[in-house]
Structure formats: structure tokens, C-alpha cells
């Protein structure tokens, strides 16, 4: 999975979104490369979700374009997913009365080929396709750390596991780009750290990741590149260090002097590396195995 030159996987250029008289987004540019984790932060109402919706085909930008591997994204969420952009939701939106495995199998929908006729007769090729999908989805459940829970109803899973399941479901669509909408909302520090490790291992599969988060510490410790949206405009972008130190960001978003933020981030990094050994090991152990199948 070496980088295919410098061409970005996902490129948003001059994305502008106008609702009536309100400009929600103004000339937002973003480039995402293979294996990159991009953080998108900004205060409430900055246009993060609007931008996300432009990336997932829910909205068509008023001006500007979003391109995936050089091709303009279609303006339909289903087709965007087929094209290779998968997403999770800010407030978990699993299929609650389906089992964990069935949820992931739904994610696999667009990569399976059986039509109505094949589904009616359950012939040998249908059975093979179904078995393959099942195997793949079980691997994904395993990858996100939900092995053995495949027969559990999604509604009965604990909160953190539901988040993982949503990620597994998104991964089942074989995405080139994974969009995570506040993946750690409502999580405790351990779960947050586990999520961080999971996202890092997703990157190693060669999938580019965009993360929207409120938790700036989480973003700065995770991302390669951070973009800050304020009032619909891209205020600052760059490496976490650059963004973290930028006085405008601090003023607009963090509201704290840089030294204090730096200290917090350092403390967080130290803390999490200590925990990593205990909690995260199982997931990391599985990763090489999983990567081999890619």
C-alpha cells in the first residue's frame, strides 16, 4: 500500500455552501492523502457538519467541488459510499434490531452482487458470495475488537462497542476515505484511547481518515494534519504543532494560552502511552493478520 504519488485521495476545492442568505461554508479547501488522518475542528456552528454533508453527498456544494481520486463525487449518499467514502454518525445510527454481524453485512451491501433472482433461489454462487461476505465481516468485527459479539443485537451492545460496530460497518464498504463524526463523543478516557488506537490501525490499512472532534487533545495526539473551521471559513491548517501554536486558533477556539494547551497535550500523550500496553494490546495484536488480508 505505498502512496500512489502525491495525488490526493480526497480533494475539496473552494467548497461554498449557501442556504438562502446564509453562507455556511466559504471557499473551504482540503486535501487528503492516502494513509493520512485529517482532523477537522472548530467551535459549534462553524460548519463542520455542513462540510461533512458535502463530503458524503447529502449536500451538493453551491460552488466548488469535491473530488475522490480525481473524480467529482456524486450527489447521492448511496453512490458516494459506492465510490469509496464511508462515514459514521455523530449520534450512533446503527440498525438497532439487527445483530452486530448483520449490521456489518449491511455495510457490505454495495460490494455484494446478488440480485433479486439470486436471492430468491439461493444457488451455489449466492451461497458462496454470502459465505465470503460473512467471513469478511467477521474479520472486520474482529479487527475493531468485537469478536464473539457477532450474534448480539446492536441495541444491546455497550456504548463504546456500538461506536466500534459503526466503524466496522463503515469499513465493510471497502472505503478509500473514512469520515468519522465525533467518534469519541461520550466516551471515557480508556474508550477514547482505544478509539485512537483503532483509528491509527485503520490508517495502516491504507485508508485515509477524516475526524471531526470537539476533543482537541484527542485531535492533536491523533492527526497528521489539522484544519480549523471558524464561521464557515478555513482559519488555519497544518500539522498539529502549527495549529496548536497559532494564536488565532487559541483565541477562536481554545481560549487558553499556548503553554497551557501544550502542557495538557503532553500530559495526555504520556498518560495514553502508559495505558496503551494494558488496553490496546488485543487490537494491535490482530492488526498484522488483518493487514495481510487487505
Amino acid at each position: 500500500m505505498t502512496a500512489t504519488s502525491n495525488a490526493p485521495v480526497l480533494a475539496a476545492s473552494n467548497v461554498t455552501m449557501v442556504f438562502g442568505g446564509l453562507t455556511a461554508l466559504k471557499d473551504v479547501n482540503i486535501e487528503l492523502h492516502e494513509g493520512q488522518i485529517l482532523g477537522l475542528i472548530g467551535p459549534n456552528g462553524a460548519g463542520k457538519t455542513t462540510f461533512f454533508n458535502c463530503l458524503t453527498g447529502l449536500y451538493t456544494p453551491t460552488r466548488g467541488s469535491v473530488r475522490l481520486k480525481g473524480r467529482t463525487l456524486p450527489s447521492d449518499p448511496a453512490q458516494v459510499t459506492v465510490a469509496g467514502v464511508a462515514r459514521t454518525f455523530q449520534n450512533i445510527r446503527l440498525f438497532p434490531s439487527m445483530t452486530a454481524l448483520e449490521n456489518v453485512l449491511v455495510g457490505r451491501h454495495s460490494r455484494m452482487k446478488q440480485g433479486p433472482i439470486a436471492s430468491l433461489f439461493h444457488g451455489p454462487s449466492f451461497k458462496k458470495g454470502e459465505a465470503d461476505a460473512r467471513t469478511r465481516c467477521l474479520e472486520l468485527l474482529d479487527f475493531v475488537g468485537l469478536s464473539g459479539l457477532d450474534d448480539e443485537l446492536a441495541r444491546n451492545l455497550p456504548y463504546g462497542d456500538q461506536r466500534r460496530l459503526e466503524i466496522a460497518r463503515a469499513l465493510a464498504t471497502d472505503p478509500a476515505v473514512l469520515l468519522l463524526d465525533e467518534p469519541t463523543a461520550g466516551m471515557n478516557p480508556q474508550e477514547t484511547e482505544a478509539a485512537r488506537q483503532l483509528i491509527l490501525s485503520i490508517r495502516e490499512l491504507g485508508i485515509a481518515v477524516v475526524v471531526i472532534e470537539h476533543d482537541t487533545k484527542f485531535i492533536f495526539s491523533l492527526c497528521d494534519h489539522v484544519s480549523v473551521l471558524v464561521q464557515g471559513e478555513l482559519l488555519v491548517e497544518g500539522s498539529p504543532e502549527v495549529v496548536r501554536g497559532d494564536p488565532r486558533v487559541i483565541e477562536a477556539y481554545l481560549g487558553k494560552p499556548p503553554e497551557e494547551v501544550q502542557a495538557e497535550v503532553d500530559a495526555y500523550a504520556a498518560e495514553s502511552s502508559a495505558e496503551r500496553t494494558s488496553i490496546i494490546e488485543p487490537i494491535r495484536d490482530r492488526r498484522p493478520n488483518e493487514g495481510g488480508q487487505q
Binding site: R93, E102, V106, S119, H122, E130
Partner: protein
């Protein structure tokens, strides 16, 4: 002063309703207090169950009615004097006796008793209330079930007390788990168990269908006989469930799926050979089959894809009219006759096309709005058929004289004789519909366990999330409508030949509602549920003819109660079960499923639970 008669009725009606509500509240309160009292006292369980069982035996041997009712003697020698001839008890009294004897035996058996006693108790309560309400309500008054001059007939009252005692004996102490019997038995044993249980099911169904005569013609007491038999069977099933037998059988049949399907088919085909093998029941069973096949089709739309369709019977109608027009009937628009199988295929295709047409607005509307759109479509169909649009439906004259299906010189409406056994007429339609329902079941099950079925369920659960997973929701929804309508069209073609007259008024709104009720009653997304729902909705009205004007009221009441106490349906789909059944650790005991079908008195006990 001349008081209008309406006011007089109101003057009676309002106090009685208020009194009834008061009574219900009182019973509920007493029930709750009683439960609170016995629950922490497990030592009460044994005396209560022994007492209850003994009372039940006494009740069975007591007279139940003090005098002979105007419409003739109440069945099973209800005026028989106490211990007059203990071996002569039959019918509901015999059932009471059997239930009580089993309850007594269970007390001394080394097994978990609570659930068994509860099931038997509910059954006793049901039998007592049904018969009491009927004897008292049918002109006897309370004197008929208590004492009248020198004769005493406390059978019903004692039976009720016995039932309550048994239920409370099951409530004393902690809730006991249902035993989990292992399915690790040899193939021979498993097969034998399956054959025996399915055969028992068949005999039970036949017995129930014939209870009190066909449809109550000639027997004024057919309704209560049927209902109390239902209560008895419910008790037996509940007790079997309590010892884990029903769960065991269902797991065994899961394990030996194909064998079960074959046996079930054979059993279904065996119905004409039982006592229910009459013209009347063959016709009813065929109608049930038509409705069941249609309900399974509707189950795809409503149960899987979650699209509420209130005009679904229109597709049945379209199938029927298409088949009628190609049948060679005198009033048919097409002047020629097509072979039945060809007509079926055309009917299915036409219905499917209409299904897709009706489905297309669903791309834009959701939920309630969709329900209105489908409702409108149903009305459009009915009105068009009524006004004979295009001369295809015969309007008010209908299309009469649709000839029976005729295969290789075998006319489907004639009686049949196989190896000396005379089979009722209509038996071939019955066989045909059984095969059709089996096929429709396979279609449903295969679709459900496929990529398509999962996409439907995903749409039902969360349409936006489904779209974000790459499901083209518009296409999927239209496909659901199309396939559902196709199945209904096939059923309609059979219906046309069976009834021989296809008229617009067989396809009205109330039929759509009945179909929807069958799906919801049986359990959304569940195949056996849809069949059971259709069967109940068609058999109960036949069986409750004695209740005449109150029939629909009782029916509606029963539906409300089932939705209150078992929202997941009678035979729920595993997903829905998990979703709706979390009302408490013990869930709803199975014996309550049938109780709501009884008289208002029975319903009272339900509310008071």
C-alpha cells in the same frame, strides 16, 4: 313526560360502563396487592397449589348451571348434580378435571412448578369465565351460575377461585427459569418427536375447528365450546412450554429443518383426512391460505421494509380480476381461456407492475404520508372496479361464473376419492393453496436471508443510515412493493377460481385492514406469524357467530389486548421479539395469548393481571 329512547339507553349505558371500569380498577388493585403479598412467601406456594387443584376437581364435578337455559341444555350436562356420575363429565368439565389433576400431580413431582401452575391456572380461569359469562349472559343471569331456589351450581365460581389460587401459587417465590432440554438426541428420537408433535398439532387444529359444530349452525353454544377448548389447549401448551418441551421441539425442528418442513407439509395435507375434512372447512382453509399467502407478501412490505401499506388488498384484487378475465367466463373481457398456470403468471406480473407503480411515490413520502398514499390507491382500485373501468371488472355485476381449475380432466371443485377414502369437494384447492403458501414461505425466507432482505430491514430500521451504507433505498423499496404485490397477485388468481365470482366488494378497505392485522397479530416479519394471524382472523369470526352483533366488538377488544400484552405478535420474529418483549424477566406467559379471545369477562381478568 316522554323521554327519548336514546336517553334511556344512555342512562343505562353510562353507569354500566363506569361500573365496569370501577370493577376493573378494583380487580387490578386486588390482583396487585395479592401478588405483592404472595411473592415474598414461597411457603404459600404448596398449600395454594394443592388447594387450587382440589377446588378445580370439585368445580369439575359440581353443576355449572342451575337450570336449563331457554336455548336448550348447556353442553356437557352442566346441570348434572354434584358427583352424580363422575365418569360422565365431558367437554369443558372434563378439561377442568384434567387440568386440576395435572396441577395436583405436578405438586408432588420433582420439577419446577411455578410456571406450570400459572399456565394451568390461567387456563382454568379462562374456562370458568367463558362458560360463566355465557350461561349468565345467555338469559340465565347470576342465578344460573350460583344458586336458584334449591339447586346450587357453583362450578364456574369455584373453577375461577381454583384458577386464581393456582396462578398465585405460581407467583409465590422467585421466578423460575424454563428448563433447557438438550437437543442432543438421536436422529430417530428427534424425528419421532417431530412427527408426533406435528400430528398432535394437526389433530388439535381439527378438533378445534370442529368444536361445537361448523360455524355454530345448529348449535347455539358452539362459540363458548370453541373458546373454552381454546383456553384448555392454551393451558396445555403453556404447561408444556413451562417444562421446556415447546422450546425443545422448536429447537429440534430448527435443527432438522428439512425434515420438519416435509412433515409439516404432510400434516397440512392430512387435514382433509381428519374430522375437519368437510366442504365447509376446505373452503375456509383455502380462504385462509389465500389470505396467508397475501399476508406473507404484505409482510415483506410492512414487516421487512417497514412501509405501511393500507391498500394492499388491491393487489389481491388485481390478481383475481386478471385471472377471471383470462378464465373464459362469460363476462370476461378476453374471449378466450388461458391455462391456469399461464393466467397465474400474467396475474402475478400485472399485480407486480401495479405494485411498482404504487411503490414509486414511496421514494418521496415516508411513514404516515405513505400510509395515506397507499390508502388512496386502495380506494382508487375499489372505485375503478366498482365502476367497471375498461369493462374489466364487471362493476356491480362482478365477473360471475369463473370456471373451476381443471387439470387433466380433474375439476378442482369436485369431491375426490383416493383409495376408498372420500375427500370433500374443494380438497384440490386446499392442496393447491398449501403448495402455494409453502412456495411463498420459501420466497419470503430466502429473500429475508439475503442481501436484499437485509437492505429492507436496514431501511426499516434507519433509512438515512441505510443510504449511507450504499443501499439504493428507492430501488429497494420499489422492489419490496413489487415482490409483495406479485405474491398477492398469485393468491388472487387462485381466489378467483375458488370463489368463481370475482366482485369488487371482496377487496375493500376492511380486507386490507384484516391483512395488516394478520401480519401484526402474528408478528411482523415472521412467517408462521402471518399464517397464524390469517388463520385466527378468518376462523374466529366463523366460530364466534353466536356473539352476532358483539362479534366485531370482541374482536377489536381482543386485538387491543394482544397488542397491549404481546406487542411483538403471537409468533414473533427473533428481532422483533428482542425489541418489544422486554417487559420483565418472565415475559408474558403463553397461555394468555388465547384468553383475550373470550368473553368480556375473560378480558376482565386480563386487564387485572
Amino acid at each position: 313526560m316522554n323521554i327519548p329512547i336514546g336517553w334511556k339507553y344512555l342512562a343505562i349505558f353510562i353507569p354500566s360502563v363506569l361500573g365496569l371500569i370501577g370493577l376493573l380498577v378494583l380487580i387490578r388493585f386486588a390482583w396487585k396487592k395479592g401478588t405483592e403479598y404472595v411473592t415474598p412467601r414461597p411457603t404459600l406456594s404448596r398449600p395454594l397449589s394443592i388447594g387450587g387443584a382440589a377446588l378445580g376437581i370439585v368445580a369439575a364435578l359440581m353443576p355449572w348451571a342451575t337450570f336449563v337455559l331457554n336455548e336448550g341444555a348447556y353442553p356437557d350436562k352442566s346441570t348434572l348434580q354434584f358427583f352424580d356420575s363422575p365418569w360422565a363429565v365431558s367437554g369443558f368439565r372434563l378439561h377442568t378435571l384434567l387440568l386440576s389433576l395435572v396441577a395436583l400431580a405436578v405438586v408432588f413431582a420433582p420439577i419446577r412448578k411455578h410456571r406450570i401452575h400459572k399456565a394451568l391456572g390461567w387456563s382454568l380461569i379462562g374456562i370458568a369465565l367463558i362458560n360463566a359469562a355465557f350461561i349468565a349472559g345467555n338469559g340465565g343471569g347470576f342465578g344460573a351460575i350460583t344458586s336458584d331456589g334449591s339447586s346450587f351450581a357453583f362450578g364456574a365460581v369455584i373453577g375461577l377461585v381454583a384458577g386464581i389460587a393456582l396462578v398465585f401459587s405460581g407467583k409465590a417465590g422467585p421466578v423460575e427459569p424454563i428448563p433447557h432440554l438438550s437437543t442432543d438426541v438421536s436422529r430417530v428420537v428427534a424425528y419421532a418427536v417431530l412427527v408426533v408433535s406435528f400430528t398432535a398439532l394437526l389433530l388439535g387444529v381439527a378438533m378445534m375447528l370442529n368444536a361445537g359444530g361448523q360455524g355454530g349452525v345448529g348449535n347455539p353454544y358452539a362459540g363458548p365450546i370453541f373458546l373454552s377448548l381454546l383456553a384448555f389447549f392454551a393451558g396445555v401448551l403453556g404447561a408444556l412450554h413451562a417444562v421446556g418441551v415447546t422450546g425443545w421441539i422448536s429447537r429440534l425442528s430448527d435443527k432438522h429443518k428439512w425434515f420438519s418442513i416435509v412433515v409439516l407439509l404432510a400434516v397440512a395435507l392430512g387435514l382433509p383426512f381428519t374430522e375437519a375434512g368437510t366442504d365447509y372447512w376446505m373452503t375456509t382453509a383455502t380462504n385462509i391460505g389465500v389470505y396467508a399467502a397475501t399476508a406473507i407478501g404484505l409482510n415483506i412490505v410492512v414487516g421487512l421494509a417497514g412501509l405501511l401499506d393500507l391498500g394492499y388488498v388491491a393487489f389481491l384484487g388485481i390478481g383475481a380480476f386478471v385471472a377471471a378475465n383470462f378464465s373464459g367466463a362469460a363476462a370476461a373481457k378476453m374471449g378466450f381461456e388461458l391455462p391456469f398456470l399461464v393466467a397465474v403468471i400474467i396475474a402475478a406480473i400485472v399485480a407486480g407492475v401495479f405494485g411498482a407503480v404504487v411503490g414509486s411515490p414511496t421514494l418521496r413520502v415516508r411513514g404516515d404520508y405513505l400510509a395515506i398514499v397507499t390508502l388512496a390507491f386502495g380506494e382508487i382500485f375499489k372505485k375503478s372496479a366498482q365502476n367497471d373501468i375498461g369493462g374489466l371488472t364487471g362493476g356491480a355485476n362482478a365477473i360471475p361464473g369463473v370456471p373451476p381449475i381443471n387439470w387433466f380432466g380433474l375439476s378442482f371443485d369436485k369431491p375426490l376419492e383416493i383409495a376408498g377414502v372420500k375427500l370433500p369437494s374443494g380438497v384440490m384447492y386446499y392442496v393447491l393453496i398449501i403448495v402455494l403458501v409453502a412456495l411463498v414461505m420459501v420466497v419470503f425466507a430466502n429473500l429475508k436471508n439475503s442481501r436484499i432482505g437485509r437492505s429492507w430491514i436496514a431501511i426499516r430500521e434507519d433509512e438515512d443510515a441505510a443510504r449511507a451504507m450504499g443501499i439504493k433505498t428507492g430501488k429497494a423499496k420499489i422492489l419490496a412493493f413489487l415482490i409483495g404485490a406479485t405474491l398477492a397477485g398469485v393468491a388472487g388468481a387462485v381466489f378467483a377460481h375458488k370463489t368463481s365470482t370475482v366482485a369488487y366488494d371482496s377487496f375493500q378497505f376492511i380486507e386490507s385492514v384484516t391483512l395488516l392485522a394478520a401480519v401484526i397479530l402474528g408478528g411482523m416479519g415472521s412467517i408462521p406469524g402471518a399464517v397464524l394471524g390469517a388463520a385466527l382472523l378468518l376462523v374466529l369470526p366463523e366460530k364466534l357467530r353466536e356473539f352476532a352483533d358483539y362479534r366485531l366488538i370482541l374482536f377489536g377488544f381482543a386485538l387491543i389486548l394482544i397488542m397491549r400484552f404481546r406487542p411483538q405478535g403471537l409468533v414473533p420474529d427473533k428481532h422483533r421479539r428482542a425489541e418489544l418483549a422486554n417487559e420483565g424477566a418472565e415475559g408474558v406467559p403463553i397461555e394468555e395469548l388465547n384468553l383475550p379471545d373470550d368473553t368480556p369477562g375473560g378480558a376482565k381478568a386480563q386487564v387485572a393481571r
